[in-house]
């Protein structure tokens, strides 16, 4: 059985890839994809800790499932916003969406 650290390293790598995607991609949809990666890397962590910890406690798995649900909701809201922005400004490039600026 592979040790816990392998999972953690994998999870950290996945998180970093997601983070890099979020920070570097110009397309808003791609940024959402990066966010999905980061959320799921956390799920890997949760599952790994559950498996290597007290198996009788279901908290890890429950958290992972809640994260799924949150991620699904977040993506649906995010995509809806992206579509709405696209309809109004005719762009999905994150740098061009700067209405938050004063």
């Amino acid at each position: 059985m592979v040790p816990l650290s392998w999972y953690l390293v994998f999870s950290a790598a996945l998180f970093s890839i997601g983070l890099f995607g979020v920070l570097s991609r110009r397309n808003a949809v791609a940024i959402l994809l990066g966010i999905e990666l980061m959320l799921n890397s956390v799920n890997v962590n949760l599952a790994a800790f559950w498996r290597y910890g007290d198996v009788t406690q279901m908290a890890g798995q429950v958290f992972a499932i809640i994260v799924f649900a949150v991620a699904a909701a977040e993506v649906s809201v995010g995509l809806a916003l992206v579509i709405s922005v696209y309809r109004k400004h005719n762009t999905v490039i994150a740098d061009e969406i700067d209405m938050l600026k004063f």
Partner: protein, 713 residues
């Protein structure tokens, strides 16, 4: 009701009338005078009952009516106040009650009750008359006094003061009554306050008498500190008098009794207008005539003499004090008589004659003629009230003439505008004649003769020839100026149209004149000396026995001597004759040979007092108090405080408030925030990825910092 209770009640009705009128009825003239006259009537009734009971008591002097209450707690004892009726009080009460009642009744007529309101009368000015239409033609009639009720309120208070003073058994309540009258004389002399002369006269009377009153109060205080009591009965015991006579006062070699006597006497000098404080009394003529009668006959000036007569047992302890009193009295008698000779105002002549007659009483007291002084006080009160009310009646008649002709430049008080009033005003004439003859001492029939004769007899018998001579001369002048007055006013031909149209006054004014003239004649008969030729002994000398009984040692009646009798006959008849002879054909003031400058100007006393006292005081008030102290010193301090605080304020503002509070804290914090805001606004790009980048950097930085500084420890 016991006599003592009744005595307590005597002063009360007038003061109740005062408050009733002032508080409630002052808008209703008829009700106001009814209350006032009713109150005077009650007091009169009480006084008469007390008087009748008093003369029925044997040895009233030893067993007077007295009653007192504890008033002021003084540690282990009480200061008592109360009432006392001994023979002196009884006779004083008699004449005060009569004259007060007469004056109250007279005032109703004098202030034109029942006449219409004036056309253009103002409060504070005498009424100017009203126009009425009668059967189609207009004519002017006297108008009612605008402040009618106010007058009755004031004279009510005045009467209260006098009754209080008379029935007091101690010097303190006597002084209270004394001061109430001082206040009332101020209010009443200044009754027509719209006239400047009346205001000045009121202030003058108040301040001049105040000079005397301060000394009197000192005397009372000194007396209290020596004896511990102010009650007459307690002071006039042999022990207390002996103590007073033996303790030296330390001032000019006077004994305590002498100094106290002198201080109390100075109070009388002010109140009874003796030289040198006589100046206020002639000016007091500015008040309405009933007030003149009130002040000069029944009350205020009598109160002064009453007080010294009352304090006689104390005064007589020190011969020096007695000499001073006799000297001042005699001097005043002569001095005022000479001024009266040259006065043209009918009331001013009477004012100076009052000063002169009071001088007679004071002189009599100074030579030890106790009964004579009291006797003259009573007869004088009657005939002088009569004369003043008579002169008011004359003035009223003249004012009627003035209203008829409409020439308001004619002074209705100037005797040279009168003449021939005998036929126009018969009742006034005959009563005035009786009063004038009583004042002159017309032999046998008038009261003034008997009282003046007794003073002469006493002066002669006590070998006070200087006083005797001075008083004889004064009496001669008295008769002379009285006849001058009667001649100029009533006899001869009318000198002006106004005098031709003068009219007799109404019954409310003439009735008091008639009643008073009865007393001016008959009251002398109770004091006819025992050994007087022909008449002596027909009527017992009741007054001497009765009033003399007030003193512990009854004064002996003096031996009859023909010299004072002849003197008094000669001066009275001579003065009257000469007065008639000189003035029967005088038609104007210019023909009057006696209008000498120094007499007309009253020996320039007003001017001297003005220069010596008033001018320096006003100068001091203006230059020193106002200019230097008030403007320079007090205002200087204030003006110093102003700039000083302003300077301090400026400094704090410029060097603390503006730089520190405003610039540093206020503006500084705002500027700093603004500057930071300016710098930080560039961070707000609006690009989501920049924010995330920043968040990441901060997260890493904070994480690194925590790692190195917190977790590594």
């Amino acid at each position: 009701m016991t006599t003592e209770t009744l005595i307590w009640l005597i002063p009360l009705p007038p003061v109740l009338a005062f408050f009733l009128i002032v508080l409630f009825t002052n808008r209703n003239k008829a009700l106001s005078h009814t209350i006032a006259v009713g109150a005077a009537l009650l007091s009169w009734l009480g006084s008469m009952i007390v008087f009748v009971r008093a003369i029925g008591v044997e040895h009233l002097g030893e067993h007077p009516f007295e009653s007192s209450i504890n008033w002021l707690p003084l540690g282990d004892s009480w200061f008592k106040i109360g009432v006392l009726v001994d023979p002196l009080t009884a006779v004083t009460l008699f004449f005060v009650a009569w004259t007060v009642l007469m004056i109250f009744v007279y005032s109703v007529g004098y202030h034109n009750f029942g006449q219409p309101e004036g056309d253009h009368d103002h409060k504070g000015l005498p009424p100017h008359g009203a126009t009425v239409e009668d059967h189609g033609h207009k004519h002017v009639v006297p108008s009612i006094e605008p402040m009618y009720s106010r007058f009755f309120a004031f004279i009510g208070l005045f009467a209260f003061g006098m009754f209080t003073l008379v029935v007091s058994d101690n010097l303190l309540t006597l002084f209270v009554g004394w001061e109430i009258m001082g206040l009332c004389s101020y209010l009443l002399i200044g009754f027509w306050y719209g006239k400047k002369s009346a205001r000045d006269a009121a202030v003058k009377a108040f301040i001049t008498t105040r000079v005397g009153d301060v000394f009197m109060l000192l005397g009372i205080a000194y007396l209290y500190s020596v004896t511990g009591t102010l009650s007459f009965r307690e002071i006039f015991t042999e022990d207390v008098l002996h103590t007073l006579a033996t303790i030296p006062s330390g001032v000019l070699g006077f004994s305590s009794a002498g100094l106290i006597g002198l201080l109390l006497f100075i109070g009388t000098v002010g109140k009874s207008a003796q030289f040198p404080l006589h100046v206020w009394l002639p000016d007091a003529m500015e008040g309405p005539t009933p007030v003149s009668a009130m002040i000069h006959a029944a009350t205020m000036v009598s109160a002064g003499v009453y007080a010294v007569i009352r304090m006689f047992p104390l005064l007589s302890l020190d011969p020096t004090t007695m000499t001073i009193i006799a000297f001042i009295g005699a001097f005043t008698a002569l001095f005022a008589a000479t001024i009266a000779v040259a006065q043209n105002d009918i009331k001013r002549v009477l004012a100076y004659s009052t000063i002169s007659q009071l001088g007679f009483m004071i002189a009599a007291l100074g030579i030890g003629a106790y009964v004579a002084a009291a006797f003259h006080l009573i007869t004088h009160a009657f005939f002088k009230a009569l004369l003043f009310l008579g002169s008011g009646s004359v003035i009223h008649g003249m004012e009627h003439g003035v209203l008829h002709t409409g020439d308001h430049h004619v002074d209705p008080q100037d005797m040279f505008n009168m003449g021939g009033l005998k036929n126009k005003m018969p009742i006034t004439f005959w009563t005035f004649l009786i009063g004038g003859f009583a004042l002159s001492g017309f032999p046998i029939i008038t009261a003034g003769f008997w009282s003046k004769d007794e003073i002469f007899a006493d002066a002669f018998a006590h070998h006070q020839y200087l006083v005797f001579g001075t008083l004889a001369l004064a009496a001669f002048l008295t008769a002379f100026y009285t006849m001058r007055q009667i001649t100029l006013t009533f006899l001869g031909e009318a000198r002006t149209k106004e005098a031709e149209h003068a009219q007799e006054t109404r019954w409310t004014m003439t009735t008091p004149l008639i009643i008073l003239s009865v007393f001016a004649v008959t009251f002398g008969w109770v004091g006819i000396p025992q050994h007087f030729p022909l008449l002596g002994g027909l009527v017992p000398n009741w007054l001497h026995e009765f009033v003399g009984g007030t003193l512990a040692e009854h004064p002996e009646a003096v031996e009859f001597n023909v010299v004072p009798l002849l003197t008094s006959l000669v001066v009275a008849l001579g003065g009257l004759g000469l007065g008639f002879f000189v003035y029967r054909n005088v038609h104007s003031a210019a023909e009057d040979k006696l209008q000498l400058g120094f007499l007309r100007n009253k020996y320039y006393f007003d001017e001297i007092y003005d220069t010596v006292f008033i001018k320096p005081v006003t100068w001091f008030a203006d230059k020193v108090v106002y200019q230097i102290m008030d403007k320079g010193f007090i205002d200087g301090i204030l003006h110093l405080f102003g700039p000083a605080t302003q300077g301090l304020g400026d400094t704090v503002r410029n060097y603390f408030d503006l730089p520190v509070i405003n610039r540093f804290f206020g503006d500084g914090s705002a500027n700093a925030t603004y500057w930071f805001g300016g710098k930080l606004r560039v961070v707000q790009t609006g690009r989501i990825q920049n924010y995330l980048m920043l968040a990441l950097i901060v997260f890493i930085a904070v994480g690194a910092a925590l790692y190195f500084f917190v977790f590594s420890v």
